[in-house]
C-alpha cells in the first residue's frame, strides 16, 4: 500500500500522534503502508524552502530510506525558486514536488506557476498540489487560508501533456463541485488522492467521475487518522483490481513513468 499524502514534522497549531519521523514510520508500517510519499509540514510556513527540503530529505534517508519518498516544496513566488527545483531533482533525487499555492499566496493563474509546471515537466517530476491542509472552519483564527481554486489548472493542462499532477485533498467538503473540478476530472494526467473525499459512496463516485487508473491512496496522515482513507477503500464498491490500483498500482505507475 502506497500512501501518497503524508507529512513529516510538526503542524504548527496542533501536536499530532506520529509527528515525530521515527514514530511516523512505525505507525505507517503497522497500518500496512509499504511506501509513503512525504512532504514537510514546515513547507507551507517557512520561507527558507531550501532548508525545509534539506531537512525533509535527510529525515527520509535517516528514518525511512526506501520507505519515505521525499516530495520537496517549491514556492514559485520566492526568489530563485528555480534553484530549489533543481536541488529537489538533482541533489535530493526526489521523484516529485509538493506545492501549497494557498499558503504561498499565489493562484493557479499566476504565470510563475505555469513556468514551474513547464520546468517540472521538462525534468519529468510529479507535481503534487495540496489544495488545502485543513478545513478553513477549524483553522487557527489568526491564519485563515482558503483552499486553492483549481479552475485555472484545467486551462493550463493542454500545455503540459506529459506532466503528471496529483491533486491532494481535492475532494473535500464542498470541493467536489467547485469550479474547474469537472474539467480536471476529465484530464488524463491529473490524479486524485482520497484523503478529503467524502460522502456515502464518495470513493466510488470519484473513481466513476475520473478513472480507476487516476485515483491514488492518500491519507493525509498524521493530520488525519489513516484509517479514514483505509476504510474508504474497504467500504467501496471497487473491484479487487481497482482496489489494487488505488492502493498501489497507480502510484507505482506514476513512479515508473518518470
Amino acid at each position: 500500500m502506497i500512501d501518497t499524502n503524508v507529512h513529516l514534522f510538526r503542524y504548527p497549531f496542533r501536536r499530532l500522534f506520529g509527528d515525530d519521523p521515527p514514530e511516523l514510520v512505525v505507525q505507517l508500517r503497522k497500518k500496512g503502508v509499504t511506501q509513503a510519499w512525504a512532504g514537510s509540514f514546515e513547507a507551507p510556513f517557512c520561507r527558507d524552502v531550501s532548508g525545509v527540503n534539506d531537512r525533509l530529505a535527510a529525515a527520509c534517508r535517516e528514518h525511512g530510506a526506501g520507505f519515505l519518498i521525499p516530495f520537496g516544496c517549491v514556492n514559485p513566488k520566492s526568489p530563485d525558486w528555480e534553484e530549489d527545483l533543481r536541488r529537489c531533482h538533482e541533489e535530493h533525487r526526489m521523484p516529485g514536488i509538493r506545492l501549497y499555492p494557498n499558503y504561498h499566496g499565489y493562484s493557479l493563474e499566476d504565470s510563475a506557476f505555469a513556468k514551474l509546471l513547464s520546468l517540472a515537466e521538462s525534468r519529468k517530476l510529479i507535481v503534487q498540489i495540496a489544495r488545502s491542509i485543513e478545513d478553513i472552519r477549524t483553522q487557527f483564527p489568526l491564519m485563515l487560508v482558503p483552499p486553492a481554486s483549481p479552475g485555472p489548472l484545467s486551462k493550463l493542462l493542454p500545455q503540459f501533456p506529459s506532466l503528471k499532477i496529483v491533486l491532494l485533498n481535492g475532494g473535500g467538503w464542498a470541493g467536489e463541485d467547485a469550479p474547474g473540478m469537472k474539467e480536471l476530472r476529465n484530464a488524463g494526467n491529473v490524479y486524485w488522492d482520497i484523503a478529503m473525499n467524502e460522502g456515502v459512496g464518495g470513493l466510488d463516485r470519484l473513481v466513476a467521475a475520473t478513472s480507476p487508473s487516476r485515483v491514488v491512496f492518500g491519507s493525509h496522515y498524521p493530520f488525519f487518522y489513516l484509517e479514514s482513507a483505509l476504510l474508504k477503500v474497504q467500504s467501496s464498491d471497487l473491484t479487487p483490481g481497482q482496489v489494487q490500483a488505488v492502493l498501489e498500482g497507480n502510484a507505482n505507475s506514476l513512479l515508473k513513468n518518470l
Binding site: Y225, L231, S235
Partner: protein, 300 residues
C-alpha cells in the same frame, strides 16, 4: 445483527484479500476482526446527499453502506428536503414523516430522531407528542434551525424531553471564519444544559473546533461530546476521552454528507483502549437511550 455482521466480515475479508498486494500489509483476518468487534450505533445521520427519490430508496443505500462497515443502527433525522433555516410547521412535519417512513422499512437498523423548529414552541410540542410520545421516535435532533439553543424558547421542549427520558442532539459549531447566522455553539448548549440538569444533551460536532468545544462542555456533565461531521482530524477522540472520560463521548457520522468511513476512523484510529472504543461507538448511546427504549419496549 448476526447476519449483517457475517455479511460484513465476508465482504471485508474479500476486499482485503484483494487489497493485500504488498509484503508487510496486515493479515486480512486481523483487520477484519479489528473493524467488526464493536456494536456500532450512530447518533447522527440524515437522508441528505444520497441518490434516490424516496425515503426507502435512500435508506436502502445507507443500509448497504452500514453493512460494509458493521454499523448496526442509526439515529436518523431530517435532511431529505432542502435545508431551511426557518422551516414551516408543515416542512418539519414532512421531514419527520420521511424519517418515520424510512425507519418503518428498516426497524432493526434505525430509530427516528425528531426534527423541530424550536422558535415555534407550540408546533414543536405538538410534533414531539405526535412523533415521540405517540409515535416511534426515540430522540430529539439534530436541532439546527431557527434560534440559538441557549434561548429560553427551548425550555418547554427540554422539559418535555426530560419527562420521557429523551436525549437531545444539538448542532453546534464554532467556525473559525465566522459562525453562521444563529448557529449554536457549545457554550450556548452549556447554558441550556445548566438550566436543565436532568436533561441529557449531545453536543453535535463538539463545535467542529473540537479543541474549544471539548473545553467548553468539560464541566457540564450532562453533555456528551459527539464526533460527527468534521474532518477525521487526528487527536479529536483522544482529547475528548482525556478531558471528558470515554463515557461522555459519542460516535456519530453525519451521513450522507459525510462518510461512515471517515467518521468511524476517528474512533478506530484513536490511541485509546478497546473498552473506550466500545463505549464511544455505541455503548454510551445505548445507555442514553435505554430508558426511552425500555418505555417503548424497543430493543437496545
Amino acid at each position: 445483527m448476526t447476519v449483517n455482521r457475517r455479511r460484513f466480515v465476508k465482504g471485508m475479508v474479500a476486499g482485503l484479500l484483494a487489497a493485500r498486494v504488498s509484503a508487510g500489509a496486515q493479515e486480512p483476518t486481523q483487520l477484519s476482526q479489528r473493524y467488526t468487534r464493536y456494536r456500532i450505533w450512530d447518533a447522527h445521520s440524515h437522508l441528505e446527499a444520497l441518490q434516490g427519490t424516496t425515503p426507502l430508496e435512500r435508506m436502502e443505500i445507507l443500509v448497504r453502506h452500514m453493512d460494509k462497515l458493521g454499523v448496526e443502527r442509526l439515529m436518523l433525522s431530517q435532511g431529505f428536503g432542502q435545508y431551511e433555516y426557518h422551516p414551516t410547521p408543515e416542512q418539519v412535519r414532512i421531514e419527520n414523516d420521511r424519517v418515520m417512513e424510512a425507519v418503518r422499512h428498516f426497524p432493526d437498523r434505525a430509530y427516528g430522531s425528531l426534527y423541530l423548529s424550536p422558535g415555534d414552541v407550540e408546533s414543536s410540542l405538538k410534533e414531539f407528542d405526535r412523533c415521540i410520545r405517540d409515535g416511534p421516535m426515540v430522540m430529539i435532533g439534530e436541532l439546527e434551525t431557527d434560534i440559538r439553543c441557549n434561548s429560553p424558547a427551548l425550555d418547554p421542549l427540554v422539559e418535555r424531553a426530560i419527562s420521557l427520558n429523551v436525549p437531545i442532539l444539538q448542532h453546534t459549531w464554532t467556525v473559525s471564519n465566522g459562525d453562521g447566522p444563529g448557529e449554536s455553539t457549545p457554550l450556548d448548549l452549556v447554558e441550556l444544559a445548566r438550566r436543565h440538569p436532568r436533561g441529557q444533551f449531545i453536543c453535535g460536532h463538539t463545535g467542529g473546533n473540537w479543541e474549544l468545544g471539548i473545553r467548553a462542555i468539560r464541566e457540564t456533565k450532562n453533555i456528551c461530546a459527539e464526533i460527527a461531521g468534521s474532518d477525521p482530524t487526528s487527536g479529536f477522540t483522544e482529547m475528548a476521552v482525556r478531558e471528558l472520560g470515554a463515557e461522555r463521548v459519542v460516535y456519530g457520522s453525519d451521513v450522507g454528507g459525510r462518510s461512515f468511513a471517515s467518521q468511524i476512523a476517528k474512533v478506530l484510529g484513536a490511541e485509546i483502549s478497546d473498552k473506550e472504543k466500545e463505549l464511544i461507538l455505541g455503548g454510551n448511546l445505548r445507555r442514553l437511550l435505554q430508558p426511552v427504549l425500555k418505555t417503548k419496549g424497543l430493543p437496545t
